[in-house]
């Protein structure tokens, strides 16, 4: 049911709909589109993908409510975008590197981060951005677009070291495409032909700035031409399409055909249902009707419909999944809220070895805390 309405949402303008129609496998009602090829995933894998998307959605709700209660700091919700996050991470091999922004909670979870690790920075612990051993994920990138040349460098380094089959997947938003680092990162990737997949999560907004004010280019995918690499538009609310396209891009990155270049720019056309962060009020700049139109194509609903129609999912399984999700969330929140941080740890890991100046500063803080107690430091700062 690709309606005119659809065209307006996905394209820069309705007139460009034809050429730049995003790739889609599941129609908005969850039925498989004619001619579409469903990716080769087992029933178990599909259910697990569904469970992860559902977990992501619940995580989002939980985090927003924790923030409202003042238990965690500002949070960047992902509802509407979890389908794409989960699907792209399903496409990764274990050893592939993931470069996330502040919004890719679900992408990180699927690629190996515990829920606790997702919550930690929100609780402000010193080791909030720590990454567990052996999990090839970078700490979230907050300065927009800076991860892009770094992901290129990582992929390049892997190729130089004889591991071109270890790819890097780099997330960023539509707003990020305006930054110089987007340009430099993609240009290097094209020149050095490195195994990297760039995923632009075009959720139509960069905080309050709409996509068509971000650039006069009709699509984001077409920016790939400037770097001699492939650009491709996908329905980011269709987890199966996202999985297929990302898998193919990763495959090409690792084992390109004769005339292929390894890098790909995927424009994942999606929508941020909620606020930019819990500190943001979207009613100041956008119309709720717009969000509602996108909710009609919800990734969780689409996958649910597909799995139900294909008899993979039933009420019983759904209930099991819900239970598992709730108990995992509850455990994670408890663990993280009980953690605390030693002020000394602020001085750790600034350098491999603590320089004298830092040691003195640490010792002085220690001495003061001993003398006056930690309460003396919890004065209102203002």
């Amino acid at each position: 049911m690709s309606t005119q309405n659809d065209a307006e949402q996905y394209g820069h303008s309705a007139t460009t709909y034809g050429d730049d129609k995003p790739i889609r496998i599941l129609d908005t009602d969850g039925t498989v589109l004619p001619d579409a090829e469903v990716p080769d995933l087992s029933a178990d894998e599909l259910v697990s993908m569904y469970e992860d998307i559902k977990l992501a959605r619940r995580f989002d709700q939980r985090a927003i409510s924790l923030q409202r209660q003042g238990r965690i700091a500002t949070y960047a919700p992902m509802t509407g975008q979890e389908g794409a996050q989960v699907a792209t991470s399903y496409a990764l091999d274990d050893q592939d590197w993931l470069f996330p922004t502040y919004r890719e909670h679900a992408a990180k979870y699927v690629h190996g981060m515990e829920l606790e690790s997702l919550l930690k920075p929100l609780c402000g612990h010193r080791d909030g951005y720590a990454i567990p051993d052996g999990v090839p994920i970078m700490p979230e990138y907050i300065p927009i677009a800076t991860q892009i040349p770094q992901a290129t460098g990582m992929a390049w380094g892997n190729r130089l070291q004889g591991n071109p089959e270890r790819a890097a997947l780099c997330h960023f938003g539509d707003g990020a495409t305006s930054e110089g680092d987007f340009h430099e990162g993609l240009n290097f990737a094209g020149v050095f032909d490195v195994p990297v997949v760039f995923v632009c999560n075009n959720n139509q907004w960069a905080i309050s700035v709409p996509r068509d004010h971000q650039t006069a280019s009709e699509t984001i995918a077409q920016k790939a031409a400037a770097y001699g690499i492939e650009g491709i538009r996908v329905d980011g609310l269709d987890p199966l399409a996202m999985y297929s396209v990302t898998s193919a891009a990763l495959q090409k990155a690792k084992n390109p055909a004769e005339d292929d270049r390894r890098p790909t720019l995927i424009e994942s056309v999606q929508y941020r249902y909620g606020a930019h962060t819990t500190a943001d009020d979207p009613s100041a700049y956008r119309d709720e009707d717009e969000a509602n139109a996108w909710r009609e194509k919800d990734p969780l609903d689409r996958l649910q419909n597909y799995l139900t129609a294909t008899d993979i999912l039933d009420d019983e399984l759904e209930a099991e999944i819900d239970d598992r999700i709730e108990s995992r969330l509850t455990d994670a929140v408890e663990t993280v809220e009980n953690a605390t941080t030693d002020p000394d740890s602020m001085f750790d890991h600034v350098y491999a070895e603590l320089p004298d100046r830092l040691r003195n500063q640490r010792d002085r803080l220690r001495a003061l805390r001993e003398k006056y107690g930690d309460d003396a430091f919890s004065e209102v700062l203002e």
Partner: protein, 349 residues
């Protein structure tokens, strides 16, 4: 060039003011920033605002709230997400005869624009031998204490102070915020305007409704005292004033507090004049200690007034570490307790 103001932090007494009435509004610091922008947009049609989310959204801190409705989307412009583009086009806008006020969303996001700021905004007057100038303001919320994620709590004013050709201003009160920002907008040179977001809404004070300037380059004595001077700026004025009261009450130490207000050019005269009276100094800032602006102040004092110096000048600063996530930021920032301790050490040296 000293201007002495009352403890309540207002700076009305001796500021250049275009005010024709005595009317005031009771504003927070961020409201005073908005008031300054509103005032200058009204008075000077060359003034315009550009930045990320400054339009419909009114700025992520609401410093530009509703200005787009009042003054149109041509004068209050949402830009693409690109800081070098914002400052770079801002330079061009200034060269074309406008008076752009650029907002960079947080100081931690000013670095992509660093090249445009230091290589061009700062130097085009000198390079063109006075033919061209860049009358532009670059506003940035800065500093910690608001439980923000990494990169949102930067305090690296020294980067801009070290570059000749830039001016750097930092208000510590609503009245100064308005007056300094108006002075910055009217200044013929580029001004980096740092807004201490910790105290954006911490307190209100009476701010004249009319336009007025707090001149750039003039420090202000926020509290008079005879025993020791604390030099500070921005949000650190608050813990400093608390510390001053505490040591006055407990130990009878009489602390003078100098609010620098402008970090470039530094008001050496006021700095030295106060020191010559007290002979002892503490400097408090949020930035990392090493090569921070505190180092310049200490170096300047010993250069100009060594014969008055009775104790080492102590610096109470952020540590030489990246700003930690929020659980530890109260340990990182100069708290009253740390400033008190330094005052005591200095006085008892």
């Amino acid at each position: 060039m000293t201007s002495t103001t009352a403890d309540d932090g207002t700076a009305e007494a001796d500021t250049d003011t275009d005010a024709e009435t005595d009317e005031t509004d009771t504003l927070t610091l961020v409201e005073a920033v908005r008031d300054a922008l509103y005032t200058e947009l009204s008075l000077d049609e060359r003034v315009m605002i550009l930045g990320e989310d400054v339009g419909e959204n009114g700025g992520v801190f609401r410093a530009t709230a509703e200005l787009v409705d009042e003054f149109s989307a041509e004068r209050v412009v949402d830009t693409p997400l690109a800081e070098s583009g914002i400052v770079g086009t801002g330079i061009g806008l200034a060269l074309s005869g406008l008076r752009p006020v650029a907002e960079l969303q947080f100081m931690g996001f000013s670095y992509p624009a660093f090249d445009q700021l230091v290589s061009h905004a700062a130097r085009l007057r000198s390079r063109s031998h006075g033919q061209y100038s860049v009358p532009m303001v670059i506003r940035m919320p800065y500093g910690g204490g608001i439980r923000a994620p990494e990169h949102h709590s930067e305090s690296k004013e020294a980067f801009f102070v070290h570059e000749p050709g830039l001016k750097v201003a930092v208000p510590s009160s609503p009245a100064d915020a308005k007056g300094l920002l108006i002075a910055a907008i009217r200044d013929p040179d580029p001004v980096v305007f740092l807004e201490p977001k910790l105290i954006y809404r911490a307190f209100r004070e009476d701010v004249p409704t009319a336009a007025y300037e707090v001149p750039l380059g003039e420090a202000s004595v926020r509290r008079e005292g005879a025993d020791v001077t604390v030099y500070t700026w921005g949000a650190m004025i608050q813990p400093t004033l608390i510390a001053a009261d505490n040591v006055a009450g407990e130990a009878g130490i009489d602390v003078e507090v100098v609010d620098l207000r402008t970090l470039s050019p530094l008001d050496t005269e006021t700095i030295v004049e106060s020191f010559e009276r007290t002979g002892r100094a503490v400097i408090a800032h949020e930035a990392p200690k090493t090569a921070g602006v505190g180092a310049e102040i200490a170096a300047t004092i010993q250069e100009e007034a060594l014969l008055y110096q009775e104790a080492p000048i102590r610096r109470v600063t952020g540590y030489d570490v990246p700003m930690p996530l929020h659980e530890l930021e109260e340990y990182y920032l100069p708290q009253a307790i740390r400033i008190e301790e330094a005052i005591r050490e200095t006085v008892s040296f």
